[in-house]
Amino acid sequence: MIYMIEDTINGILMGSIYGLTALGLTIIFGVLKVINFAHGSLLMVGMYAAYWAVALTGLHPYLTLVLVVPVMFVFGYYLQDIVIQPIFRAEKNVREPITVIIVTTGVWYILDNLTLLVFGPHYRTIQVNPLRGRMLEIGGLMISVPKLWGFVSAMVAAAAVYVFLQRTRMGRAIRATSLDRDAASLMGINPYKVYNVAFGIGTATAGIAAVTLVPFYNVFPTVGVLFDIKGFIIVVLGGLGSIGGAILGGIIIGLIESVGPQFMTATWTEAIVYGLFLLVLFVKPAGLFGVKYDW
């Protein structure tokens, strides 16, 4: 019984981190209307950034947020501005241009292979790591401290993005563009600049996710792929474009993964995850929670 509760708690914690990795995917989709296949690679870039920041400065992993978040924002902003934007301009009249998806796939390959070339295939773990293996004991329950921090980060990041979108001038411009690009133009909003900002925010949230992962996860060039696939499943479960849905979808996946093995083998839990994914696609394509955009 105690294991059951522990697994549930750990599932929620890990799941919220999955949700955090998917948050950027859902934001970028909500505004640009395309799935960013490079999202896992952006997460990977963020993990290397956090890894090297810790390795070179010896800072507490979470302190690297002050570095990783702005760097990732700028990286995403200019990636969209320089690489993706020209395709959008060329396909001005297409609402959901497929060629953009192809370009993001190209970005994924380039980033993963460039990383392989520069840093090699080794698995890396940070050496200076005050969070390593730390456990919190509450009434006989053992809870992973780095995952607890990840959970807090996910909640704070999701809330911050939500408030930003609701309360600020740029946030409103992003929502307006996501709802009607031409009408937003007529209000004086430059949609391409909004795309840059949305991509920057999406990439910055991947950076936050990366920082939360680095204390207990290996860093290697294809680490993003794993989270990519989970990310797609999560945003479909939660509803493409939904912030709350991304977090909840992540928690569902985390729970299936951690509680499932109590009752069946791990391969079965994976089958359940994919089965749920297909079921939602067939039965409720707007996502389990039915809200397409909650912002």
Binding site: R169, A173, A184, G188, I189
Partner: protein, 236 residues
């Protein structure tokens, strides 16, 4: 120097031409109507003025400067604001958020709160509905939001594309009264309409657009009395 001067523009959708060698002028403070049937090219003309589309040839001068190559956001900043056909509200945002987005441009943003009060005074219904999601409003209220959102951008020249479209007669009357009030407060208005009687009645001048060409122009009173217009547009 004219306020708005359109000189010999041609506009295409891909290779289909819909506007042919069109010229028109609007003077500051005027209300000018463009009337014409379905498919005449009225919306295309407004889309070209606001930069959503580009003219293949010709010139568009606003306050003496060429804007034919400028993107929409720059044209809004210059002071031309387009309230599009079919309202095009940000459907899942509140009335208040729709209005605030209207004031996004740099010229209007610093005056947001003041303009918001002015808009609420002109359209008190919007003040009552400000927390409501735009999609859930009635057609007439949605049109009010569309106009209010346009006003939030602080237009020098307001382009209105068929504001009466799909509304009940009583609401049509109130929409045109609102347009009159906006003009009386000093905003220049270029009004596109199929409701010829109402639009010419409140305009100073008018143009008749048929198959992408201006076929007639003149003071609104003269157009209203013209036999061709009476038979083709007023059904008299």
């Amino acid at each position: 120097m004219s306020f708005l001067e359109v000189k010999n523009i041609d506009v295409f959708y891909d290779d289909v031409q819909v506007i042919f060698d069109l010229s028109l002028t609007v003077r500051e403070g005027e209300v000018v109507s463009i009337i014409g049937g379905n498919g005449a090219g009225k919306s295309t003309l407004l889309r070209t003025l606001s930069g959503l589309m580009q003219a293949a040839s010709g010139e568009i001068l606003f306050e003496g400067r060429g804007i034919q190559a400028a993107p929409p956001e720059e044209i809004v900043e210059r002071g031309i604001v387009h309230v599009p056909e079919g309202r095009r509200l940000f459907t899942l945002m509140t009335v208040r958020d729709n209005l605030e987005v209207g004031a996004y441009n740099r010229r209007a943003a610093p005056h947001l709160h003041r303009t918001l009060e002015e808009v609420y005074t002109l359209l008190p219904r919007l003040a009552e509905r400000q927390a409501q999601i735009a999609m859930t409003l009635s057609g007439g209220e949605q049109q009010m939001v569309a106009i209010g959102r346009g006003l939030m951008a602080k237009p020098k020249l307001l382009l209105l594309d068929e504001p009466s479209l799909g509304l009940a007669p009583i609401l049509i009357k109130s929409i045109f009264e609102t347009v009159r009030k906006i003009a009386d407060q000093g905003t220049t208005v270029l009004l596109v309409e199929q409701d010829v009687h109402h639009s010419l009645s409140l305009s100073d001048r008018g143009y008749v657009l048929e198959h992408g060409r201006i076929v007639m122009e003149g003071p609104a009173g003269e157009l209203l009395a013209d036999p061709h217009i009476k038979s083709a547009y007023l059904g008299i």
